[in-house]
């Protein structure tokens, strides 16, 4: 079973809110100094799911990302976790790509590879949160897609997918080749082993640009975007918490109940 995983590097979502800064004029985030980007959480789930499938059924896992030089660290980590090959998609023409342009770039790169059974992606990126790239990629390649998986299994006739829903699960069976997106319920990604890190450090990561994957530069990048950003800012919250205190915590709790009653909240 050959699997391609598409990952994205993102700003660490766990940085404290006070360190999250934006430039309203440039309408972009100002990355905090000394905090390295990380692999988007759902993408790491996708990598783990791919490696699990490979370990059970054989085949190989190729991981790819469209991004800057820092994205290389993410690919290295995936190789160390157990992916077999990695590709970095990078070109000036790619800069400023929206989700659809990203999908076009990924689709062209997939076509350059030797075929696959499954493409695995994350359900959403934690930074710009379009939740669009993966499904647009499925559309670009005319693949059936099943999103937000909490479980994936190979069966005799195809792939059995459990989708994590708001109020339960939905089970769908899909034929290969297909595109699947992972939700966090699907697994807990492994940490790379020392051996894995050593093996990964010896692997070459090819860089493919627009000409390598035969992508029309006019169809990607900022100019191809279907929308424009008109305003970008941090929301403000008033932060007027009244701390309820007392002789003891039990007293404070009693006082809280009374306050809620006075305010007619309970």
């Amino acid at each position: 079973m050959d699997i391609i995983v598409c990952i994205k590097q993102v700003q660490d979502p766990d940085i404290p809110p006070r360190d999250f800064k934006v430039d309203e004029e440039k309408m972009d985030v100002v990355p905090p100094a000394n905090v390295s980007p990380v692999i988007n959480g759902f993408c790491e789930n996708a990598v783990e799911a791919a490696i699990n499938l490979k370990e059970e059924h054989g085949g190989k896992v190729t991981v790819m990302t469209m991004g800057d030089e820092k994205a290389r660290d993410g690919l290295k980590k995936c190789l160390a976790m157990g992916c077999d090959e990695a590709v970095l998609l990078q070109d000036e023409a790619f800069e400023g790509s929206d989700a659809f342009a990203t999908a076009r770039i990924l689709a062209s790169a997939v076509q350059k590879l030797e075929g696959f059974d499954i493409i695995l992606c994350g359900r959403l990126s934690s930074d710009w949160s379009y939740g669009t790239t993966a499904l647009a990629l499925a559309e670009a390649l005319d693949l059936p897609s099943v999103s937000q998986l909490q479980k994936v299994e190979k069966t005799d006739s195809g792939i059995r997918c459990e989708r994590a829903l708001e109020d339960g699960v939905e089970v769908v069976e899909v034929s290969t080749p297909c595109l699947l997106t992972a939700s966090n319920e699907i697994n807990t990604p492994r940490l790379p082993s020392v051996k894995g890190i050593l093996m990964a450090s010896r692997k070459q990561i090819p860089v493919w640009g627009a000409t390598d994957i035969e992508v029309d530069p006019a169809s990607v990048g900022k100019a191809a975007a279907t929308f424009e950003v008109t305003k970008f800012y941090k929301p403000v919250f008033d932060g007027n918490c009244e701390f309820i205190e007392g002789e003891s915590l039990e007293d404070a709790a009693g006082a809280l109940a009374l306050r809620l009653r006075e305010d007619k909240i309970i």
């Binding site: 659809f100 949160s129 339960g168 966090n184 929308f227 919250f237 309820i244 039990e250 809280l256």
Partner: protein, 330 residues
């Protein structure tokens, strides 16, 4: 291309899902601004035709209903085929879906197929210079971006639950109703629906509750949700959780509140052992009053709370439960 707005309504069992009303509310507003009509589409198995008629009272000028066994369980491919055929027939300028496991699963594919602008998870929508404009929280709610479609042709948006007002109900309102044929061949869609398993929470549904008591990693273990259950029973509240508690396997996913869980808007939200990460607050933020109980006075949750107690929940919650019981009984 018409000036019409098409909404993808949804069923919730034997009823129309609440998001259908949210979509009608904003859809009506946008259609009026564009000078077009509001068209609604409902898909599903048996009973869909009857249910769909109810959407006229929510403000739709025309309602299309696709009822078929193959639509009884959701599959991306079958739904896409039907919706896409309707897009071709109706030629709307705007398509609105809800950010649900169905809406967010079909919209990106349709948008890419039609080279449309797609705005995901919007908290408000309007028309600027004839084009669809949207407000989208990004980076887990840490930032807000305003975007505007660059195209005059089809634009698609998904709306965030509880962000937009429900439609006014006008009984007896007149509108057109049309049943549409479904020609989806089971063999052509490359996937099939096996089953759906609903996880029914005991008591009040999280999304509908007037009071929610939520627990996070600070509870320390699954058994400690018992503290919250006791309080919830007294207050007739629903119990929710942070993703940390869900990821730890303490409670099931449908209890998760947040960006990738449920969005709740109760009158009172009691956050216990929850730090108040932005992604959690996406779900808890619409609550009218937030109370936080946390050992760390610096926890971000206190910046969003009306009342707070700094301390161990094991001491606070039982006393709070007791006092509430006394007050509720009196």
């Amino acid at each position: 291309m018409s000036n019409n707005v098409l909404i993808l309504a949804e069923r919730a069992g034997d009823k129309l899902a609440l998001v259908s009303s949210e979509l009608c509310g904003i859809g009506r507003k946008l259609a009026d601004e564009k000078g077009g009509s509001l068209v609604a589409l409902l898909l599903g198995g048996a009973g869909t035709h009857e249910l769909a008629k109810g959407i006229i009272a929510l403000g739709a000028d025309k309602v299309l209903a696709a009822e078929s066994d193959i639509l009884d369980g959701y599959t991306n491919a079958a739904y896409l085929k039907v919706i896409d055929a309707v897009l071709g027939e109706e030629n709307p300028n705007i398509l609105l879906v809800a950010n649900t496991s169905m809406g967010r699963d079909v919209a990106p594919r349709l948008a890419f197929r039609h080279n449309a602008c797609y705005a995901h998870d919007c908290t408000d929508l309007s028309i600027e210079d004839g084009k669809l404009a949207a407000i989208r929280p990004v980076h887990g709610g840490s930032a807000i971006s305003h975007i505007r479609s660059k195209t005059d042709s089809l634009s698609i948006a998904s709306t965030r639950a509880k962000a937009l007002p429900l439609a006014d109900i006008e009984e007896g309102r007149e509108g057109e109703f049309m049943e549409i044929g479904v020609s989806v061949d089971a063999d052509e869609i490359r996937m099939h629906f096996v089953e759906a398993k609903k996880v029914e929470a005991e008591g009040v549904r999280l999304e509908d509750a007037e009071i929610v008591v939520s627990g996070g990693r600070g509870l320390g273990g699954p058994e400690n949700f018992e503290y919250l259950q006791e309080l919830a029973k007294v207050l007739k509240a629903a119990v929710g959780a942070s993703r940390a508690a869900v990821d730890a396997g303490w409670v099931p996913t449908p209890m998760q509140v947040g960006q990738t869980g449920k969005i709740v808007s109760p009158n009172l939200y009691i956050a216990v052992g929850i730090s108040g990460a932005m992604q959690h607050m996406v779900g808890a933020g619409p609550s009218k009053n937030i109370v936080a109980i946390n050992t760390d006075a610096e926890a971000p949750i206190f910046q969003r709370a009306r009342y707070g107690i700094v301390g161990d929940y094991k001491k606070v919650i039982p006393a709070l439960t007791e006092k509430c019981k006394e007050l509720m009984d009196s």
